[in-house]
């Protein structure tokens, strides 16, 4: 029973907290650019707006188009349930391991790509094609990262890296690789541009171009949650944190502070990367992800050498 409570709690946390990360990143970006920019809570306003709006569905679309938002959200939430957030042991650890995470993301992406083709719009097809291209290139790099991490613990269980491990060269390299992957997966610069308004340069946005209203809100939400999951993973790899010792309130507070700070650090770096590079041509993404793959290999070698 407690387990279910924890799961529900964790999921609610994810749903509630995920958008703020996006708001944070865009706030940081704007601040560095010396702009005022939108408020940190802007994603919530956006979601609320979408939820209260009606929606337009293409006449060409079939049931695939209608179920996709729900499938995407449910798969992302399932992934979220596999992540150890509160107690450093995934509440759903018996349902799957680190590898399953990859496949679950693939499920959502598969449907999203299909729904993009469903409306018969050429933008949708374009987005779908590009998204599948990028994501398929992500897979080998991700696999290498998982291997390098799990080599350190002798298991692919996510709960295994529960913070007792020391930071090693391997985990730093792995974290960098994962960071690159995250950039690609969360459609950020230099792979994709979330802020663009030109359909021809879109990847993720082109796929969801036909969505509006509540459906779009669900998809956006899923994207926020996915981003948060990936940030959590990076944080856990590169800034391992052990279980808190609840001896005093200050200790607890400092623990919580560190816990949040490390995620903010990652958000800041994401923002920094995004404002300091230009968007790449689609075909150069292969090189970019190839680099991530090589980093993964280096991480594995480091893990093999025990450093």
């Amino acid at each position: 029973m407690i387990k279910i409570m924890i799961i529900v709690l964790q999921l609610i946390l994810f749903i509630a907290a995920a958008p703020i990360l996006s708001g944070l990143i865009s706030k940081i970006k704007n601040n560095i650019r010396l702009r005022k920019g939108q408020g940190i809570l802007q994603p919530y306003y956006n979601l609320a707006k979408l939820f209260f709006k009606g929606e337009v569905v293409s006449e060409t679309a079939s049931w695939i188009f209608r179920v996709t938002p729900i499938v995407v959200l449910s798969s992302t939430l399932t992934a979220a349930a596999l992540i150890p957030v509160f107690i450093f042991s995934s509440p759903m650890r018996q349902a799957g391991d680190f590898l399953v995470l990859v496949f679950i993301f693939a499920l959502g992406r598969f449907f999203l790509a299909l729904s993009a083709l469903d409306t018969g719009s050429s933008f949708g097809g374009m987005g779908s094609s590009r998204e599948m291209f990028i994501s398929s290139l992500v897979e080998p790099a991700l696999c290498m990262v998982i291997l390098s991490v799990s080599l350190q613990f002798g298991s692919t269980d996510i709960s295994a890296f529960n913070g007792i491990h020391a930071i090693s060269v391997s985990s730093i390299v792995a974290a960098i690789a994962l960071f690159l992957i995250t950039i690609a997966e969360t459609s950020r610069m230099p792979v994709d541009n979330q802020e663009t308004h030109l359909e021809l340069t879109m990847v993720h946005e082109a796929m969801v171009l036909e969505y509006s209203g509540r459906s779009l809100a669900l998809i956006e939400m899923a994207a926020y949650i996915k981003q948060m999951i990936l940030f959590f993973l990076i944080a856990q790899i590169v800034f391992p944190i052990a279980l808190p010792v609840f001896s005093s309130l200050t200790q607890l507070a400092s623990w919580i502070l560190w816990y949040l700070t490390r995620i903010i650090i990652i958000a800041i770096s994401a923002a920094l990367v995004e404002i300091s590079v230009a968007k790449m041509r689609l075909f150069r993404v292969a090189d970019f992800l190839g680099f991530a793959f090589v980093l993964g290999i280096i991480a594995v070698i480091c893990a093999m050498l025990g450093v």
């Binding site: 709006k53 929606e55 790509a113 897979e139």
Partner: protein, 611 residues
């Protein structure tokens, strides 16, 4: 009399029974399906012939996996090839079928020649054709000989299995057969080659060198990638599926190759586990590829074309077929919680467990293999987004697709059966693993009674003490519950107005099927990214009315079939050139002919002492 005869020539160990099971579980729905498929497509006489051939085909496959005598194995092996050849050329009036059949039978015969050579060596040592006698004799075989036999067997069975670069026949032959046969061929027949590898290499020959496993792994990885990349470029739906068979055979062989490596490394537990992963993927591939071919057949039957560029929007015309195809596509793309996901996860897990347990460079090698497998599954997903999206979604691209109708009941029944199997094999993974443990243990020669691959009836656990778990039922439960939750959120904000309107067209107002994204366009990023291998080229042709006005402009893009262009075509051309130049020795001159006799005589007399 009969029973002793059976005992003498047949074998019913778990391995054989497993393959028998695979054969029948795919053949049955295919046969049901063929009721509807054949009707109207062929004359009654031909339908009878098709039934007869299907029966003969299934029977020969069943015998291939159950005989216990090398010679009889060879005979049924060839009969199987022959019958399937008949089925490939079933549409005798199509030039394409004939061509495909020829490539198929010739390639498979070349493979058989290698098998014969391998069996010759085995026979020489055992002095018997019997499996058990050969198995005993193989222990005394010198390593060098064993290596040769292994290579011969690998080439021989590899040809049938479609390992790159011996896969050349597969994309020709499978699409040309009637669809229910394609499903049996792709689903089951190429698996008999896997049976051969397991039976003859692992069971009988015994693994003695670690490079065997590594060689198979390398070939398997290449097969995976080449298969899926070619599939991405393909617009003929059945040929696309055929290339995916190359890919999936690669994945199966990853499990088999790993098992061989672990046997050599003396890690029985991992060997059994890897072989199980391979076998699991084998049966899964049989199921979903069978289903996909049946669906492709339905599409062909309903529309009359296999070119997906001409299809589109079929999800509204053929809701059931499209649902089955979607299920199959999800399974082959390894999406949870379906069966393809389970076996691919197991294969990856086998690599990871291997990487945990071996030392040195093998760790990295396994890692790279695993990540290439991951790349493969990513590409496969992309390919099936294309296949399903272009075929079933959007607007119809031609009149073929516009006039399509849902297929008949028997065809739907065949597809439904396999769809159910996809789900069962996804969810009942624990039960199936228990059965597979017996099969794999029997093949490797281990008692698997003490080995456990699960903690209860729902949760797989590949290695005790490692905290690695997988539970497809649990995942499904989560997905459903959370999906329901998502639906609740969706509904939370009350019923809102949903407007059905035209697709966003940037104000163009005449959006039709010609504006849709095509399969060629979809695969373009991949074509560019893998251009070093695919070597795409364009052909453009301008027809000018005058210097200033171009009347029409055609543009084609193709990819180069590397293996065909650089290996097979030159080899064939060489053979024909040699043969053609030989013609010169017989120009019709009787004097020359008499001269030959005379010269032969003189030469023989001169060199008499050499003989």
């Amino acid at each position: 009399m009969m029973s002793t005869f059976l005992k003498q020539f047949l074998i019913f160990d778990p391995l054989s029974l497993f393959f028998l099971f695979v054969i029948f579980i795919i053949s049955l729905p295919s046969a049901v399906y063929s009721f509807g498929y054949l009707k109207g497509e062929y004359t009654p006489a031909k339908i009878t012939l098709a039934w007869f051939l299907l029966f003969a085909f299934v029977l020969s496959m069943a015998l291939v996996v159950t005989v216990s005598n090398v010679f009889i194995f060879l005979v049924f092996w060839e009969i199987m090839s022959l019958v399937s050849y008949f089925l490939v050329v079933f549409d005798t009036r199509h030039e394409k079928s004939i061509q495909a059949g020829m490539i198929y039978i010739v390639m498979t015969h070349i493979g058989t020649a290698f098998l014969i050579a391998a069996f010759l060596v085995m026979y020489k040592y055992a002095n018997s054709f019997d499996f058990f006698a050969i198995k005993n004799a193989c222990q005394a075989m010198p390593l060098q000989t064993k290596n040769i036999v292994f290579l011969l067997l690998l080439i021989g069975f590899g040809t049938k299995a479609g390992i790159v670069p011996l896969h050349i026949w597969l994309p020709y032959a499978h699409p040309q057969a009637p669809s229910h046969i394609s499903s049996v061929m792709s689903g089951v027949m190429i698996k008999t080659a896997i049976y051969g590898i397991i039976r003859f290499v692992i069971v009988m020959l015994g693994v003695n060198s670690s490079w065997w496993g590594i060689l198979i792994l390398v070939l398997a990885v290449i097969s995976c990638l080449v298969g899926v990349i070619y599939a991405l470029m393909e617009h003929d739906i059945k040929r696309l599926l055929a290339y995916h068979s190359v890919e999936n055979i690669g994945i199966i062989l990853l499990g088999v190759g790993l098992a061989m490596f672990f046997i050599r490394m003396n890690m029985p537990y991992l060997a059994v586990f890897s072989l199980m992963a391979g076998l699991y993927h084998l049966i899964n591939h049989a199921i979903f590829k069978g289903l996909l071919f049946l669906c492709a057949g339905s599409v062909y039957k309903a529309t009359g074309t296999r070119d997906i560029e001409k299809l589109g929007g079929l999800i509204k015309k053929m809701p059931q077929t499209s649902a089955y195809f979607l299920l199959g596509a999800m399974a082959i793309s390894a999406l949870p919680p379906l069966n393809g996901f389970v076996s691919e996860w197991l294969t990856l897990q086998a690599f990871f467990l291997g990487a945990f347990n071996v030392t040195g460079g093998a760790k990295l090698f396994f890692g790279i293999c695993a990540s290439l497998l991951a790349l493969t599954s990513g590409l496969a997903a992309a390919c099936f987004v294309k296949a399903f999206g272009i075929t079933f979604l959007g607007q119809p691209r031609s009149h073929y697709a516009k006039d399509a109708k849902e297929v008949t009941l028997s065809m739907k029944a065949g597809m439904f059966f396999l769809s159910v199997l996809i789900i069962i094999f996804g969810l009942a993974a624990v039960k199936i693993m228990k059965l597979l443990a017996k099969v794999a243990g029997g093949a490797i020669g281990l008692d698997t009674g003490a080995m456990s691959f699960s903690i209860n009836n729902f949760i797989l656990s590949p290695q005790a003490g490692k905290d690695i778990y997988l539970s497809t039922p649990l995942l499904l439960l989560m997905l459903i519950l959370l999906g329901a939750a998502g639906f609740c959120i969706y509904m939370l904000f009350g019923r809102k107005r949903v407007v059905i309107y035209r697709t966003w067209d940037c104000g163009y107002y005449k959006l039709d099927s010609r504006n849709e994204y095509t399969a060629t366009a979809f695969s373009k990023p991949f074509r560019i990214a893998f251009s070093f291998f695919l070597m795409p080229y364009r052909r453009t042709q301008k027809i000018r009315e005058s210097f200033y006005h171009i009347k029409s402009f055609t543009y084609e893009t193709h990819t180069t079939l590397v293996f065909k262009k650089y290996i097979y075509d030159p080899a064939i051309a060489l053979v024909f050139r040699l043969a053609g130049s030989m013609k010169r020795i017989q120009p019709g001159s009787i004097h020359l002919y008499l001269g030959y006799i005379f010269i032969t005589l003189l030469l023989l007399i001169i060199f008499m002492r050499q003989f």
